[in-house]
Subunit: 206 residues, 2 copies
């Protein structure tokens, strides 16, 4: 039992790395098993298909990212500072990825949304759920800031969606230019989306 | 000569359609030739490789999109209205695509940036040039608005980049949810990035 779950775990980790670097379509089961050091025959013992593996990788990747998001967004700090920390952590993560792989890999969920969402319904639905949750998490923080009078927004959820869209768009540029510094303007952009001017922001974050 | 360029054109159009729907990695030369109704043998007469074809498709697609962007952004109208029209045209184009293909296909350049940019240097460089030009075009309009006193920005180019990032991020959502209405908030979000409040915007656009 220990050995089988070890093999499954090796496949998941190899697939996570390859999926992050190369996307879904160009990957084959044989290549994943080779990278995992697991015989190809055992793949279908654990996963019905490449798509089933991709879903499991998405879930594993999201569990880790969600944990990161929660520990930042639910920290004991002022709401706008927490949001700022989330965006700074995004840049740090892309910088780390570049250090490990030599290339900014971007956001796995954004990558798969553009590559796969109109080709595999199960993957589309899972990615929708993830982005929905991300927007809800950001919305909760913006609502707190609204209740404290730090922002005045007509629809906090629309703004939360724009913040996540801005993150995805700027991560796209960071990947395209292979340069995490593209994300330097992420917080100023999101502050503008929140309608917070420099001076107010400085006061709010003091 | 007429017949050979007709065959080349058929390959380009078939590849544009398939690339938009399915991305790069999952496409094969044989499939493209079949869709184009052109014998596979003739493919390499026109294109050195699948990558060379992709570059030609990107150029063709950009020539058309650039023409659209220019006719909107250089129209005889107030700068912020022109920018708003560009974003509305983006939604209209995604809606049209959904009508034709049954799915929101997103932005070909954003799709390829996330799928391909860390795998093919020539494609990465071409996409960088395209986004650079898009940001410059948006920046020119924002600078006009700045000169007219309609916006007060410390760095118009940073804001232009955030506007294009917002567009790409929201187009990602439109594709993921297969719903062009996700783009309804594109103009309000970009207005916030420009630091223009509702009332000011109404005055500016009157």
């Amino acid at each position: 039992m220990g050995r089988t779950s070890e093999a499954k775990n090796k496949i998941l980790l190899a697939a996570q790395s390859l999926l992050g670097q190369r996307g879904y379509s160009s990957l084959g089961v044989a290549e994943i098993c080779k990278a995992a050091g697991v015989p190809k025959g055992s793949f279908y013992y654990f996963f019905e298909s490449k798509e089933a593996l991709a879903l499991a990788v998405i879930d594993m990747h999201w569990a880790a990212e969600r944990h990161d998001w929660e520990s930042i967004l639910e920290a004991d700090d002022e709401p706008l500072r927490r949001l700022r920390h989330l965006l700074e952590a995004t840049e740090a993560r892309q910088r780390e990825g570049q250090g490990s792989y030599g290339a900014v890999l971007g956001c796995m969920f954004g990558n798969l949304s553009l590559e796969m969402s109109n080709q595999a319904d199960a993957i589309r639905l899972r990615l929708q759920e993830i982005f929905e949750t991300e927007v809800n998490m950001v919305d909760a923080v913006i609502q707190e800031a609204q209740e404290r009078g730090e922002v005045t927004l007509s629809d906090t959820r629309d703004t939360a969606r724009s913040v996540v869209a801005q993150l995805e768009g700027q991560v796209l540029f960071a990947k395209l230019y292979n340069n995490p510094s593209q994300l330097d303007t992420l917080w100023p952009s999101c502050r503008a989306l929140l309608g917070v001017h420099d001076d107010q922001a400085i006061a709010a974050l003091a």
